[in-house]
């Protein structure tokens, strides 16, 4: 089949490095992947093209890049599937949220630094056990989903928070943190959760689900971040605005069946948090002037007693 690739290229070893798109056109078998195409370019058409790859079978995690604007493994994306219906070339760009070293090769150092920062190893406490620690099947199966992460960085490439804040730990490192925090052999929950509770940690995720969508291994990093939040709140880390917001939100739905937009930010910040509440004043005045202030009191929800009953049942189950 005829293949058309438009590859974003950048060579920093020139006087004035400017990124540009280069088109390659060639014939390849129907079964070929985007990586097959790129390798063909490098081997037969243009030896100056730089890319990272190794296993060609979605195990090593080397070839994550943006294909048609979305992070994916080049070796797991078939050319037939990626070719746009209008016959336009497949757009191939380096992974996002990273410095480009050359063409499709990006600097992974910040990625590894963040993974390392969550201390991705078991930290048991107490005396050394007499025999090996036997973990239940159930808890290992639960962790198997996160353990299938191949560290390709696709989630980091398309994370919407990293796009505006490079200090965010990011989906891969936070998912890895969950993998250890949720391991029954690990006893470092307090220090792990405490550290992840800080700025740049679990509460900075926007729940945009980009990481869920692009992960080639169904690790579902966002759900792991949500599980970390739940774990942190359960462990008593309830003072962050994120935890307070989650708590206030649940309280609002339990009491009224809906979000109480007027009071939610006040509960989140706390009624004695003068500094934050003062910041809300201009926002409130602006909404008032535009006729957009939420009602002071909402009509009572006729299903309220049943909504509350469901909440109370779960409170008891906890």
């Amino acid at each position: 089949m005829e293949v058309k690739l438009s590859v974003k290229r950048l060579n920093p070893d020139t006087d004035r490095p400017v990124a540009f798109y280069q088109e390659y056109q060639f014939e390849l078998d129907e079964s070929a992947t985007v990586l097959d195409g790129l390798i063909k370019v490098r081997e037969e058409i243009d030896g100056t093209l730089a890319l990272r790859c190794s296993c060609r079978s979605a195990i090593c995690g080397s070839c994550a890049m943006r294909i048609n604007g979305r992070a994916a493994l080049a070796c797991k994306t078939k050319i037939v599937d990626a070719t746009p219906a209008n016959g336009a070339p497949i757009l191939v760009e380096p992974a996002g949220n990273a410095e480009v070293i050359k063409d499709l090769v990006v600097d992974f150092q910040p990625f590894w630094d963040k993974v390392r920062a969550v201390k991705p190893w078991l930290q048991p406490e107490g005396p050394e056990p007499e025999r090996e620690y036997v973990v239940s099947n159930e808890s290992m199966l639960h962790l198997a989903g996160v353990m299938s992460c191949i560290m390709c960085g696709a989630c980091v490439s398309d994370c919407t928070v990293l796009e505006v804040d490079e200090n965010f730990l990011g989906p891969a490192a936070l998912a890895k943190a969950y993998r250890f925090a949720a391991d029954p052999r690990d006893d470092a929950d307090a220090s792990r959760l405490g550290a992840l509770n800080e700025y740049g940690g679990m509460w900075d995720c926007t729940r945009c689900m980009q990481c869920v969508e692009v992960c080639p291994k169904d690790v579902d990093p966002m759900s792991r971040i949500m599980a970390l939040r739940d774990k942190a709140m359960e462990a008593g880390y309830t003072k962050t605005y994120g935890a307070r917001h989650a708590e206030a939100f649940a309280g609002s739905v339990k009491r009224t069946g809906r979000i109480d937009e007027l009071r939610l930010p006040i509960w989140t910040f706390g009624i004695f948090n003068i500094k934050e509440l003062l910041k809300l004043v201009p926002v409130g005045i602006r909404a008032q002037l535009a006729g957009k202030r939420p009602p002071l009191f909402h009509k009572k929800n006729p299903g309220q007693s049943n909504i509350r009953r469901i909440f109370e049942r779960f409170d008891k189950k906890r």
Binding site: E163, D230, F249, R286, G291, K292, N306
Partner: protein, 296 residues
């Protein structure tokens, strides 16, 4: 066409203009809205409740679905976030019979049972799949020619695609563009259209939230958009409500009006902008409406 109407919290709270515009537009399009059968429904949990307890969230959504089933009507919402959370909950409930059965035990106490037939649909999808783009086109009395609009989907109506029926309904993926073109306006495509609006971290990390607002609005404006349209009231609260803060943080002015989906349609259907509360936005729509020769 009659729907059990689930407006969500925000259209009855901080975005009353969305509710007003929906009522006007649905009246014109012949979409009958039954709000009564969903009066006892709860918030979907908006993803926040699910942080604490997914099963609690799923139970509340199953209860809402059961209320819709009881009315015998299909379920329609006007909030992308509600849509996303409902679709995800529905998938979990339908994928696992035992799970659904357990949750139904909780619902049985008020005589409800979720049988698994609810198929919640956002107004955007109802327009594409039920009303039809051609019908919508035929009802346009005032084509919005020369009006350059950037679509903004946000997250919950596009991800996770596995829960949103994109395989069955591929037309959902460019539904906003289809509507923009149907009303005679011009699509301004921009890369941020399916990214986060910043709303979920507004109180948690205001600086990051503001950066997202500034990036999207300035990108769209830079490409020549005169306005942005969104199917999500939470995106609206961020992109419209926080635009002045985002502009101040970036030390620039933005002034890009953000329209709710039904407001855009209503303008083309000849509905009075005031009836759709277009004069009740944080970023003024006055200049835009006068340029379109539609006085507010």
């Amino acid at each position: 066409m009659k729907y059990a109407f689930y407006p969500g919290c925000v259209s009855r709270g901080a975005c009353p203009e969305l509710y007003a515009a929906t009522i006007e537009v649905c009246l014109k399009l012949g979409i009958e809205l039954d709000a009564e059968s969903m009066a006892g429904a709860s918030c979907t949990g908006s993803g926040v409740l699910q942080e604490k307890n997914q099963r609690l969230g799923d139970t509340l959504n199953a209860r809402n679905f059961a209320l819709a089933e009881r009315s015998g009507l299909p379920l329609m919402t006007i909030c992308s976030t509600c849509q996303g959370v409902m679709s995800q909950a529905n998938k979990r409930l339908l994928d696992d019979e035992d799970y659904l059965a357990e949750i139904n035990v909780d619902l049985a106490e008020e005589g409800l049972e979720y049988k698994g037939t609810a198929d919640p649909k956002h107004l955007l999808w109802v327009l594409i799949e039920e009303v039809g783009i051609d019908t919508l086109k035929s009802m346009v009395v005032r084509p919005l020619e020369g009006f350059r609009v950037a679509p903004f989907y946000g997250c919950y109506i596009v991800r996770p695609s596995a829960a949103l029926g994109f395989d069955e309904h591929p037309e959902r993926q460019d539904s906003l563009e289809q509507v923009i073109e149907a009303v005679g306006a011009e699509v301004v495509d921009f890369p941020g259209k399916t990214l986060c609006c910043g709303f979920p971290i507004m109180t948690i990390n205001e600086a990051n939230s503001n950066k997202m607002v500034a990036n999207h609005t300035l990108d769209a404006k830079g490409l020549g958009a005169a306005a942005m349209v969104t199917p999500c009231p939470l995106c609206h609260l961020s992109l419209d409500g926080r635009q002045p803060d985002a502009a101040a943080a970036r030390k620039t002015s933005i002034d890009l009006p953000i329209l709710h989906l039904p407001q855009l349609i209503g303008l083309a259907l000849g509905i009075d902008p005031k009836a759709m509360r277009l004069n009740k936005h944080i970023v003024s729509t006055k200049l835009l409406l006068s340029e379109l020769a539609l006085a507010p």
